[in-house]
Structure formats: structure tokens, C-alpha cells
Symmetry: C2
Subunit: 413 residues, 2 copies
């Protein structure tokens, strides 16, 4: 008998029919003797419907009231799931964040979990109940309802798994695991049986939105094994493992990640002096714009070009900041380009395998893709390329690293 | 500066546009210096939508989970109203039943309020805020969400008014007050400036569904002045007063109430012995069927007929019970008739004015309406008639008691 935390996302509980299917799955699992805590998101579309109502009233609704509003979404789906289980003869109870209690700080709409009281969870489990918990929400010290921000239900599930020391945290979603790359781009993309937290973090931050970034960080920090599974078909999914040592014969590269959501800004002809990077990026950071890849050219006659990438959503704000500061920086002009994309090879194996960069650059060069910027970390190499070459580059890299389904690169742990 | 509790029903907050209109009204009132506690229902249709989702899953959903589900409706409307007030520069905060706290017993879906803690209400009011409270919901001693049953938002408002000792409880609705009778039946129906709790109770129990019966009982018990007003147009509404002595020159009759929702059952030829009424009505009561008017004919040769009325919804169940018991009661047969209606004249004035019954019976006889059953109380006379004569009877009585708008029967207090 194991204690398992399961999380079902909005698509998985998006209609009564789907809620009933989830109840079938839980009832079957419960009958096997495992204790289950089930975290649910709001029915798909519901959170957006509620935010839409608020935005009809105000462009900047009070975060406290917005949390009061959107936290109803999970309350609806969890009550319906409880009813559906009860109909099947499974004793079940739904609990709001405040009833658990999932204690958070008071930053409405982006609260962080401080502590989870497991007393009631254990009491209900001991009484033989399936405990259904509202994802995405918590309660602060003053009893105010808080939400964890988008994707927060994954974080709720992982935090609950840590609080009750669960054997595994299973994230049910609309895909059947983590793939070597997006199957919509590469036909031969393969499901990974396992991946490390570090690799998953890099994949997630690149736009592989199977899991919310924060929940992966959280799971890694507390060493909670997380499994990504499909709500709609049976299968082993992908296990995100605590420790790469668990992976026998780890492959060099776990996958190819990519992100279209980047834009590039260049400050042309700034003085090549110490501190110029800070002078440019300081105001950007103050405006809460995150910078990704940074490139400073070698100076020529005391002048240099300074290039960095931001999220496309932030491009116009970043442009305005550069425009404001151009004269005080002594720059000649600024330029921007939103027709770029980032492609990354990710894998803990590259720590011990030389030549990953060489293989990557050769593969891109062979298909004629020019690299505009390069950024590396211990387990990742990213390049910025023209957006129109994105699919071409991903396919070439997927093949070059032996990840195609019919090739030898076995990813089984 | 007065402390006022206001309640806005589902129709009044049924769309963003209407919520904005309610916010306008509250902002204007708040600017006058009064302290306001505002109770809201769910947006019209929302509670039914949620119950519909539950009924797709189960015919008898667990009441605890049903409360968890439907209590979200008020949480949505109160958050939207708070945002709408904040946009107008009015400091506002919304509170769930558990946050107030509105303490109830644990009878889910029909909980009764035990106690209201006014500490937080007074704190928020003292901070200059308009306090918006979710109607219809409370919390039990175990922290479980409860609901008060349909119409419970009126009860929430009256109970809050009692808890904070409010000067007045204002119920905003889609009518502009209580009328002498249904204006859809009698063109000359007049809005009453005031009415006593006892009269309002009789009017409400007759199908004048301006206010929920339980809230009127509650207001009468605690002596909270209640005013019924329109959300959509300005006007003084109708004051439901604590004490009839406040009404100078109370009119004889406050209004003509009626109810189409009755059905009549007759047990024919039962033995005319003591206890026969109990033997017939006992099983009816055990089946939770409420009996309204009762008539036992004078016996003839030791046999009598026993007639009573029930709600039409309960008719088929009541018929089945009579059928089951007919032989043991020694009755000859039973009959039923659902084509009946009840018409009542209501008024505290009839206590001191003789001749009300005579006026009523003469008026009905003049238009050829036959009375099948008669029932009286201190402030009400009801008659059961054929349903097809209902409008005719109501108009005749409205006129006979001088209630028509162009007549002298002034109802001003």
C-alpha cells in the first residue's frame, strides 16, 4: 500500500464526461489498496471565463478579489469529482486550500506555499477516503484566499506530496509523457521513460509546457519522484527522477527544446567600458523584464554592440526603455528583431561526454542554419537562430543526436 | 450616519452591466456617509447551472459536496462587485461566510444560522470599507461550508442586520415593493408604503414571493426593519415594520393574496369517530407533505367526508398514501382535484374591524364564485375556489376592500 498524490489538469476535468472518466481511473486505483490524494485544476476554460468577467470590470482588478473570484474554479471541479467518486461507492471528500490547510504568503495571484498541515489529510486517508484537494489555491495567515499563479496546481500537487511524504506524485495531463522534442515538429520524437529534474527544468523553461517550471524546481528540491502520465490512455508515462545516478547508461542528450517566444534587442555602438552591461540591463530589470541570452561583441575602437533577448511580450516595453536611455549611454542606435527562436540540446550526459557542442554546430551548419547567439550551461547548449529555420534545426539536431524513434539512442532508464 | 445592510438578489447582479449599476447605487449611498454591509446572491442562473452539473453526475449528490459546489456562485458575484466598487474609488472588501464568520449548524443545503461574529465586520466598516458578504452560505463548527437553502440570501441579510444592530435591512429586488395584490392580475394594484411582519408572512406564504418566508420570520423575531426596494428604479419601496402600532390608521386590509399551487383531496365516507383526522393526516405528515386547509363535513349516519389541500407537487404522493390506507380507514373512496386555487384577504386591521368576512363572502357571491372551503386566522381569511375563477375573485375582492389605486383606501403609514 503506497501513498500517491495524483494531479488532474483542466483538460482532464474539462467536462462531466471527463470527470467521470477520471473517477473511473481513481476508483480502480483506490481498489488496489493505495491511499490517494487527488489535486484538481478548474475545468478547462473556467479560469479564463472568470478572468474575462473581471476584465470586463477593470484592467487591473484588485489581486485579493481576483483570487476570491478565480479560486472558485477548483472548488467546482473538486466537488463534482467527489460526487462522481461517491456515485461509484468510493468514499471521497473535497477540501479547499484553507481546509487542508495549505498555508501561503500573502502575495495574491502569485503566492508561495510556506507550509502544509498534513493532520486532516492523514485523518481522512486513515478513514479510507480519497482526498480531493483544490489545486492552485491556499490561505494566508489572515485567512485570506490566495492563488499560486498559473500552473500552480502542479505546484500544489508536488508540495502536498512532499508534505505527506508520498511515494510518487503523478501528474495526469493531455500528453502521455515527456518527449525528446515536440512531436508536432519531429515525427520521430520519442517518449522518454525517465528524465532528471535538471533536464526537465531546462526542457520546461524552453517551452515544453508539460509541467510548470516551479513545480519541477519544488520536486527537485524535496526529492519527490514525479511521473507525467496521460489522463486519456494508459501507459507508464515519464518518470522525473530525483537523482541522475538512477539512470543507468544515461543518454548523452535527453531532448531538443525550443522556444519561439523570444525577441532580440541590440544597442549599437555603446562605449566598451566596464559596467556598460549593467547600465543597459539595470533599467530592464527594474521594469521586471527577464533577460535570457546576452552577447557582448568584442569592442572595436572603444565601441561595441550589446545584444540580449527578452520575451516577445516584453519587447515593446524593452524598446521604450532603450529609447529613453540611448543618449545617456552614448549609444548610436538600437535595433530589435522578433523573428528569432531559441533551440537547445539538453542532457545531463553532456557533462561526461565531450563533443556535444561540435556535433550540434556541425548539424546546424550542414542544413545551412546560421547561429546568431550561443549560450551554454552545464547540461544545455542553446542557440538563437532565425525563426523560419526553427523546424529545420530541431529536426536536424534530433537526428544528429540519435533521438529519432527508429534509431539506436535508447532512452530507457 | 447609519449602519445599513443591503441585499441584492441574483437578477440585480445577473450581468456585469447590472453589477456596475449596483456599484453605482452603493457608491452614491456610501458617499452620503452611511456604513454599508452588502449581501449578494449568485448571478442569476449560476446556481441552477451548478446544480445542473451536479445532477448530470448524480440524482442525489452528497449535500456536503453540493454546498461546496453551489457556494461558489456568491463568491463570484461578491468579488466582481468589490472590483466594481474599487474601480469607482470606493474601498470595498468581499467576505465569504467563513470569513465573517456566519456560524451555522451542520445541516448541509438547509443549514440554520446559529451565530454571527461581528468583529471583522465592524473592523472593516471602521476602516471606511463597504463590506460585501456572500449570501446563502455559512460555516459550521468543523469549518465546513454550508448553505442556507434557496432564498437564503434574504435570511443572511436579515441575520447580519440583527448581528450588527443595523438601522435597516434593505432588500433590493426586481419589484419596487410589496403590492396590495399581484399587478399582473389587477391593474389597480398599489404599492404599500408599509406592512406588518405578520401581514408580510401571510402574503409571502400565499405566493407573493417578494421575500423569502424564513427571512421575514427572522426579521420579525429580532425586530429588524426591512425595506423592499427595486434595484432598477428609485423609490421608497415598502417598509416591513416591527410593530403595527407604528402604522397610524392601519387600513383594514393590507392586500389580497392568492396561490394556484394547491390541490384538494377528499376521503369519502369515513367513520365519523374521534381521531379519524389523525388517522388520515398522520401518514401524510410522515411523508413530509404539508397540509394547508382542512375541512371535515358534519357527519351523516355515522359517516363523514374529510377534505384537505396540499401543494400540487405533492398530490400524486398524497394520492398513493390515501389509496394504501383506504381499507383500514373504512372509507368508501377517495377523490382529488387539482383545479383549485386559494384566495386570501390579509390585514392586521381585521382584528379590530368587524365584518371583513361578510364583505368578502358578499363580494364573491356577487360575481358568482362558489367557496369550497374556508380557513381563517386572526389576520387572514382564505377561501378555496375553482381555479378558473381566480382572477375574477381577486379583482372583486381588491375592489370590495377599497384597495384599487384610484379609490380612497390610503395605505400610507
Amino acid at each position: 500500500m503506497a501513498l500517491i498524490v495524483q494531479k488532474f489538469g483542466g483538460t482532464s476535468v474539462g467536462s462531466i464526461e471527463r470527470i467521470e472518466a477520471v473517477a473511473d481511473r481513481i476508483a480502480k486505483h483506490h481498489a488496489s489498496g493505495d491511499q490517494l490524494i487527488v489535486v484538481v485544476s478548474a475545468m478547462s476554460g473556467e479560469t479564463n471565463r472568470l478572468i474575462g468577467l473581471a476584465s470586463e470590470i477593470s484592467d487591473e482588478p484588485c489581486p485579493r478579489e481576483l483570487d476570491m473570484l478565480v479560486s472558485t474554479g477548483e472548488q467546482v471541479s473538486m466537488a463534482l469529482l467527489a460526487m462522481s467518486l461517491q456515485k461509484r461507492g468510493v468514499d471521497a471528500i473535497s477540501l479547499k486550500g484553507s481546509q487542508v490547510a495549505i498555508k501561503t504568503d500573502s502575495f495574491h495571484s502569485k503566492a508561495r506555499i510556506k507550509d502544509i498541515d498534513s493532520t486532516r489529510l492523514h485523518a481522512e486517508l486513515s478513514a479510507g477516503k480519497v482526498v480531493i484537494v483544490a489545486g492552485f489555491q491556499g490561505v494566508d495567515d489572515q485567512g485570506e484566499t490566495t492563488t499560486l499563479g498559473r500552473g500552480g496546481s502542479d505546484t500544489s500537487a508536488v508540495a502536498l506530496a512532499a508534505a505527506v511524504n508520498a511515494a510518487e506524485c503523478q501528474i495526469y495531463t493531455d500528453v502521455d509523457g515527456v518527449y525528446t522534442t515536440d512531436p508536432r515538429v519531429v515525427d520521430g520524437a520519442k517518449r522518454l521513460d525517465s528524465i532528471t529534474f535538471e533536464e526537465m527544468l531546462e526542457m520546461a523553461s524552453m517551452g515544453s509546457k508539460v509541467l510548470h517550471l516551479r513545480s519541477v524546481e519544488f520536486a527537485g528540491k524535496y526529492g519527490i519522484p514525479v511521473r507525467v502520465l496521460s489522463s486519456f490512455k494508459d501507459g507508464p508515462g515519464t518518470l522525473i527522477s530525483v537523482d541522475e545516478d538512477n539512470l543507468m547508461e544515461a543518454p548523452t542528450i535527453a531532448g531538443i527544446a525550443f522556444n519561439r517566444d523570444e525577441a532580440k534587442l541590440t544597442m549599437v555602438g555603446v562605449p566598451d567600458t566596464p559596467g556598460i552591461a549593467y547600465q543597459i540591463l539595470g533599467p530592464i530589470g527594474e521594469a521586471n523584464i527577464e533577460v535570457d541570452v546576452i552577447l557582448q561583441n568584442v569592442g572595436d575602437e572603444g565601441k561595441t554592440d550589446f545584444t540580449f533577448t527578452v520575451s516577445r511580450n516584453d519587447l515593446s516595453r524593452a524598446e521604450a526603455i532603450l529609447e529613453t536611455h540611448i543618449s545617456e549611454l552614448g549609444a548610436m542606435e538600437w535595433r530589435s528583431d522578433s523573428k528569432i527562436a531559441k533551440v537547445s540540446v539538453v542532457g545531463v550526459g553532456m557533462r561526461s561526454h565531450a563533443g556535444v557542442a561540435a556535433t550540434m554546430f556541425r548539424a546546424l551548419s550542414e542544413v545551412g542554419v546560421n547561429m546568431q547567439m550561443i549560450s551554454t550551461s552545464e547540461i544545455k547548449i542553446s542557440v538563437i537562430i532565425e525563426e523560419k529555420f526553427l523546424e529545420l534545426a530541431v529536426r536536424a539536431l534530433h537526428s544528429a543526436f540519435g533521438l529519432d524513434a527508429d534509431e539506436a539512442g535508447d532512452t530507457d532508464a
